[in-house]
């Protein structure tokens, strides 16, 4: 091979770059999905909507709540699942049950490097 002194280091850099996740995680503990601290199931059967819906859409729901509460002045959210009105408030509704941000919100957000801007305004209760 010609120019092996240049090509081989280049290929080594390439291989190291593309196998980065393989060697970066060497020696670390096997990854497990973080456990969430959920409210007592005897007190609360389920969240204001189904778990699947909340997992997928909680961020959109909070965004919508912010808009309808702050901009339009509505304070109530009708939950079909619970047949009940809820106050459209992160602090007063969500965090009434999920009271510990670090043991609920942050666990998934940190694992997936998500940085929601809720806490730019809200104070952790």
């Amino acid at each position: 091979m010609y120019d092996a002194k240049k090509i081989i280091p280049g290929l080594i850099i390439f291989a190291l770059f593309f196998t980065f996740p393989f060697w970066f995680n060497l020696g670390t503990a096997a990854y497990t999905t973080p456990e969430l601290e959920l409210p007592d199931p005897e007190e609360h059967e389920h969240c204001i909507e189904s778990t699947e819906y909340m997992r997928a859409e909680h961020m959109a729901m909070l965004d919508e709540w912010r808009d309808i509460y702050v901009r339009d002045g509505y304070q109530e959210y009708w939950s079909e699942l619970n047949q009940e009105y809820f106050l459209t408030s992160l602090t007063k509704t969500c965090m009434d049950c999920h009271s510990d941000k670090e043991k609920f919100c942050d666990r998934c957000h940190e694992a997936t490097a998500v940085d929601p801007y809720c806490w730019d305004c809200h104070i952790e209760p």
Binding site: L11, A15, P21, F22, T28, Y31, A60, L62, C108, D115
Partner: protein, 357 residues
């Protein structure tokens, strides 16, 4: 037709993933075996291809000269010629750097125009350069951003990329600017092939297929993030990704079909990569028209496998024939030693005198 053929191929790949992972539920094949195979084929195939290029000899300097050579004449003082026609290693490093990072040759792209007259005109055309640059850098950013699924804890640099990419906080989850930019760039690159007749004429399935494949990857990724029914729970996705890179693969429940489509298309891209024109990723570093210094006038480059030719130099020729040459009045570089220098000198001066008269 070539475009439709490529599109059908990509749609078929999507259907394979939907049927295989979604309907038949063979998540282990699509989530573990194919991705491992893809990474292996990609890295090994890439290395083999580059090594095979390395075996091709490039004995002579063949750089594209885009400016007047540095040392040719004192009147050429343009300092950019150090990059456009480098004569030194440093100049080559600079040329390669700007070539790889800023696509300087593409910046020189021109368009032929016919005017009334008829006149022909070559005008600057920067759109291809702009959108190509946009595509490549957003692709790099998206690739690096995905490392948040393959690392735990996620290093700050990837978190920062994520935040910068979603800094305008449009929509929830926040819209990545790179998602929009890459779609715009891919749209341009595709429409250019479809709508410009000259480019369309030379476009092959091998040109359309990677475009459609990458568009498919981007769209499936965006659907997973933004559109309700396609959304995928990220926690099992991260578990799958981490299982792959920690060599303890698991296929957790609750991963949506869209994810398998996304992963399958990425795997196909990785497998396709070493056999396709996408190898310009490695090839750009090995372009002899870019990575050689234009120093043919300063250094003698000898073809290493030349047959050892026996040269008959002019000096040897003159040594053999000097006497006859002097007798015939031919000019010689070294005067005859045995004969007196005066005679030959006088003859020469006589000739000069005659000419003057």
């Amino acid at each position: 037709m070539k475009a439709i053929y490529s599109l059908i191929l990509v749609v078929a790949l999507i259907l394979i993933a939907i049927v295989g992972a979604g309907l038949l539920g063979i998540g282990y094949l699509f989530g573990v075996i194919i991705p491992y195979l893809a990474v292996l084929v990609f890295v090994v195939g890439f290395v083999v291809r580059v090594v095979s290029w390395g075996r091709s000899p490039v004995p002579f300097r063949i750089p594209t000269t885009c400016g007047q050579a540095r040392k040719s004449l004192p009147m050429f003082k343009d300092k950019w010629n150090r990059l456009d026609n480098p004569g030194t290693k440093l100049g080559v490093v600079g040329r390669m750097f700007f070539e790889i990072v800023l696509f300087r040759s593409l910046f020189r792209n021109t368009r032929v125009e016919m005017h009334q007259g008829p006149h022909i005109a070559y005008s600057s055309s920067k759109w291809l350069w702009l959108f190509a640059l946009m595509f490549h850098f957003t692709f790099l950013l998206i690739f690096l951003r995905h490392m948040r699924f393959f690392t735990e804890p996620v290093p700050g640099v990837f978190v920062m990329m994520d935040q910068m990419d979603s800094m305008f906080q449009i929509l929830t989850p926040a819209l990545y600017l790179s998602s929009v930019l890459i779609l715009v760039a891919l749209g341009y690159l595709l429409l250019r092939r479809l709508l410009v007749p000259t480019v369309r004429y030379i476009s092959q399935p091998a040109d359309y297929f990677p475009l459609f494949l990458i568009i498919g990857i981007v769209i499936s990724g965006m659907l997973m993030r933004y559109i309700g029914v396609f959304k995928t729970d990220l926690m099992p996705v991260k578990e799958l990704a981490m299982g792959l890179v920690q060599f303890s693969p698991t296929v957790p429940d609750g991963i949506g079909t869209t994810f398998y489509v996304h992963l399958f298309l990425v795997s196909v891209l990785l497998i396709y990569f070493p056999f396709s024109k996408l190898m310009h990723l490695g090839g750009v570093f090995l372009s002899p028209t870019r990575n050689l210094p234009n120093d043919s006038r300063e250094k003698r480059h000898v073809n290493p496998w030349n047959y050892p030719v026996k040269f008959h130099t002019y000096e040897a020729y003159e040594d053999e024939n000097r006497k006859a040459m002097v007798e015939a009045g031919l000019p010689v570089e070294k005067p005859l030693e045995e004969e007196t220098e005066e005679t030959s000198g006088e003859e020469a001066s006589d000739d000069n005198a005659e000419k003057k008269e």
